[in-house]
């Protein structure tokens, strides 16, 4: 078996007494894109800097192409990083910034010029090549940072929120360029983003971090469909999380019976609940509207519409249960739905749409 392109093995790192990374491990195959997701300050940038070699680990190791990187300085690692702070060289023009790494590799001047031109085109910077970084807008600076890292064509690309300062259209365009480049050159990428839809759309592997630790990692659809706990469920997409009580299990049909704020429900789950009282979640788009008088759908509940937001292709509803302790949920309907605020509606949830989380409710 060929070695992984990148292996992080129980990496721990601290700043003084503050532990920024706690035994982080994951691996990426050649040509994969790994996204790091997590709230601000959870250690994403720190992890990238450790991979690039700017920060030394306290313990654990990082391997690139099967080689232990301990003690190898950044300039001798086959990585290129696109900095969150851009870190452009203020005294060099855009084209000299982009060509910095190439000049370091002693590539011929003509070759440098052509490669700088190509990369500049990919990030739409051709018109800015002669300017100094101080004369660029924030989004343009960000693209220079991106181009500068991509120009050296490293084995591992480290992206620290490379698109955060771009408008939606440009972001889509540059994102596609990154994917195209990756297919073309086959680099492995570690990609930090705050945008979970971006993470779901781009990555082969999603790593969700919290406070220096990995909460969960896996393929995007797995993480989305089966989040491990409330934190991940809430962080990836929107989720309706509710405490439930497990009251029975039907071995023949494989269904679990639960008591929930929505009444009695049946759940089809591959993983068994870890406790009698537990949290479960479902996604807003999984709820199906049931016509009045229709008695066929599973897991039916009648709720009152609190608010309704029309979002174009979607309709976003906040609904509440009736009774003395109202619980609110969020649901999404495709297309235009003629429902008014205050109206009562009946919803149905498929047993497989409801997921047990690995956390007991008290």
């Amino acid at each position: 078996m060929p070695p992984h392109a990148l292996t992080i093995d129980e990496a721990s790192l601290s700043f003084g007494r503050f532990q920024a990374l706690k035994s982080v491990s994951f691996a990426a195959e050649q040509g994969q894109l790994v996204t790091l997701l997590g709230p601000s300050g959870c250690g994403k940038t720190t992890l990238l800097k450790a991979i690039a070699g700017f920060l030394a680990l306290d313990s654990g190791r990082i391997e690139i192409g099967g080689h232990d990187m301990t003690g190898i300085p950044p300039e001798r690692r086959d990585t290129a990083m696109c900095f969150q702070s851009y870190a452009l060289f203020p005294h060099l023009s855009v084209s000299d910034n982009i060509g910095f790494g190439l000049r370091q590799q002693r590539i011929g001047e003509a070759e440098i010029r052509s490669r700088v031109g190509t990369v500049a085109e990919q990030v739409s910077l051709v018109a800015q090549l002669a300017k100094l970084p101080g004369q660029l807008s924030g989004g343009q600076q960000q693209r220079v940072a991106l181009a500068r890292a991509m120009a050296v064509r490293p084995g591992i690309m480290l992206f620290d929120e490379p698109l955060s300062n771009l408008d939606a259209k440009l972001r889509d365009q540059v994102r596609m360029e990154i994917r195209a480049l990756q297919r073309q050159h086959g680099f492995t990428a570690v990609y930090v983003t705050h945008d979970q839809s971006e993470a779901l759309a781009m990555s082969d592997l999603v790593v969700v971090m919290r406070a220096g630790e990995i909460e969960q990692m896996g393929r995007p659809e797995d993480i989305y469909r089966q989040p491990k706990n409330r934190f991940v469920a809430d962080f990836i997409g929107t989720a309706n999380i509710m405490p439930v009580r497990v009251i029975g299990h039907d071995a023949a049909s494989g269904l679990h019976h639960i008591e929930s704020p929505l009444g009695r429900l049946t759940v089809r789950s591959e993983i068994a609940p870890v406790a009698k009282t537990i949290f479960a979640c479902w996604r807003p788009e999984d709820a199906v509207l049931v016509a009045a008088g229709d008695e066929t759908g599973p897991n039916r509940a009648t709720l009152r519409v609190l608010s309704r937001t029309f979002l174009g292709s979607l309709c976003d509803l906040i609904v509440v249960t009736e009774g003395e302790n109202p619980v609110s949920f969020r649901i999404q309907m495709h297309g235009f739905t003629p429902i008014a605020e205050g109206e009562r509606i009946t919803l149905s949830l498929k047993p497989e749409a409801i997921r047990f989380l690995g956390e007991a409710a008290e």
Partner: protein
């Protein structure tokens, strides 16, 4: 508020700026005019180039001129060459770095004449250095190091006094270079030397030049270090100027004025040439 032109700021400038400009133009004007024979204190005044002739054909003058130029060049280059790595080393604070930078700056607070005395006292016949050398058995008896003929003492003093000054000028700009920028350079394959040449030096070029210029000017016009610790067979330009002014009863002022103009020229053009040279070298090797 009206956008009309206001004279108030310019009026406010007068008390500070006017004395400076008046003083400078009068002093420089006096030197220039006396060098060509005007405003004589004795004898007739009138345009004449003979003082220039006299001074510029004097071999002693040229010895003093090139001596001062040499001292200024060595002192400024050495001071900056010593201060720069230290400023880089202290770029990021660590335990004890504040103490170190305070100690480095300490000589700024020591008067030049005191420094000269301390130095002479240190290397003199009875000084610590000789005592140490004798005790270590390196020499049989104390050696004479005072007023050495190569002016090593003067350069040591200049560097002693000016290295902290260069450090003070360089330390701010060096600290202003962000960690991320240096990390980015490393990440793109730049080793320590490449980072220095391609990132750090270009970003601190202006301060580097400022330090070189100021130290050059100071050292070119030196009087006290030279007269206390310098070689007795040579004069610095300032020393020569003072001597000519005091000794030559008749044309002392006029000839001193010529020397003054030459000294100002040396300060101005010498330091500018040095700054330009550094920039040129950096451009050549930079990129």
């Amino acid at each position: 508020m009206s956008a009309s032109f206001s004279v108030r700021p310019y009026l406010l400038l007068l008390p500070g700026l006017l004395p400076i400009l008046a003083f400078m133009s009068l002093v420089i004007g006096m030197a220039l005019s006396q060098s060509v024979g005007y405003f004589n204190f004795s004898g007739d005044s009138g345009f004449s180039l003979r003082f220039w002739h006299t001074v510029l054909s004097e071999q002693q003058f040229w010895r003093a001129f090139w001596y001062s130029a040499r001292i200024a060049l060595f002192s400024s280059l050495l001071s900056v060459a010593l201060a720069y790595p230290v400023a880089l080393w202290l770029r990021r604070p660590f335990a004890g770095s504040d103490l170190v930078s305070a100690l480095i700056k300490a000589p700024i607070l020591v008067h030049g004449l005191v420094a000269a005395f301390l130095y002479v006292n240190f290397i003199s016949f009875q000084g610590f250095l000789n005592a140490a050398l004798v005790h270590l058995g390196l020499v049989a008896r104390p050696i004479r190091m005072q007023n050495d003929p190569y002016a090593i003492g003067v350069v040591i003093l200049q560097v002693w006094k000016n290295m902290p000054f260069a450090f003070l000028i360089l330390t701010g700009p060096v600290r202003a270079i962000g960690d991320d920028i240096l990390d980015a350079a490393r990440d793109l394959g730049a080793g320590a030397f490449a980072r220095l040449r391609r990132v750090i030096l270009p970003l601190t070029l202006r301060s580097l030049q400022a330090a070189l210029i100021l130290i050059f000017i100071g050292a070119a016009g030196d009087y006290s270090f030279q007269s206390v610790a310098g070689p007795t067979s040579l004069n610095s330009l300032a020393q020569y100027m003072v001597r000519i002014q005091q000794d030559n009863a008749g044309h002392g002022w006029n000839e001193a004025a010529v020397i003054a103009v030459m000294l100002m020229g040396l300060s101005l053009f010498g330091s500018a040439a040095l700054a330009a040279l550094i920039q040129f070298l950096l451009r050549r090797t930079g990129r």
